[in-house]
């Protein structure tokens, strides 16, 4: 699996550029979707009151769909 990845890896040493981080977003999301549901944001937390007030009843902004990353 490792050798097949064509997107920049987030390294242990050194940094990943913003451009490369953006470029890898879709593939990282897709890898996760192979093993767990797409959106896994918690349904509740101790911050609910302030989050739901700010985000119109949600706990954050909606995630960008995978195909648009």
């Amino acid at each position: 699996m490792n050798s097949k990845s064509k997107v920049p890896c987030i390294p242990i040493e050194g940094s990943i550029s913003y451009k490369d981080w953006l470029k890898g977003r879709r593939h990282r999301r897709e890898l996760g979707e192979l093993v767990a549901p797409g959106i896994i944001r918690r349904k509740s937390s101790s911050s609910d009151r302030r989050l739901k007030k700010l985000f119109n009843g949600e706990r954050g902004l909606p995630f960008t769909p995978t195909e648009k990353l």
Binding site: N2, P11, I12, I40, G60
Partner: protein, 207 residues
Amino acid sequence: MDAKKIRSALADISTEQDPTVKSLKLASLCSALWAERGVQLVVVGGSAIEILTDGAYASGDLDMCHATAATLPIAQRKEIMGLLDAKGGPRNWQVAGMYLDLLGPVESFARTPFRRVEGPFGEVLVMKAEDLLVERVLVSVYPGENQTARDCAKKFIAVILGGDMAVNWDEVRRLANLPEYRNFPQCVKLVKEVADEFKVKSPLHPD
């Protein structure tokens, strides 16, 4: 960073509608402003996991800690966050359409470096992947079964096994055997589960 640049960055972050990019941009701006005053910030928890995996996990708050020994005095924090038109404080702010929580000194057991992402306004330090992985596996079973944490840990492992994030597996092994975690068997099991789904050998396999 001069006032004009700060205003421009703030406008950019405020209009950003992708929650993960918005979070990274805010972390980048705050990190730059804190660093100018000698304090290194690091993104932790779910916000860190989101930046490293794009796993659609985090909520609308950004959690950061300070990696340097001391943090800024309250008056200086107030001054910086005032530049960003932030509401609240001195540890939690509403800023640029999201929340920022400054949680205190960072807790890390891994000997690897913080991960580094070059954000648009400066470098962002992100919690070490080894700490995040072992901790998320722990949360998935303790104090009780937690399916969201389990899904989050599986996505984290998938990004690593897919080659998009590097980790030091020896360090994962060492951390999972520390008294603070003692969850090596659970780590082995979950990594094997994802490795089997990917049809690759688990890096935590005894061989």
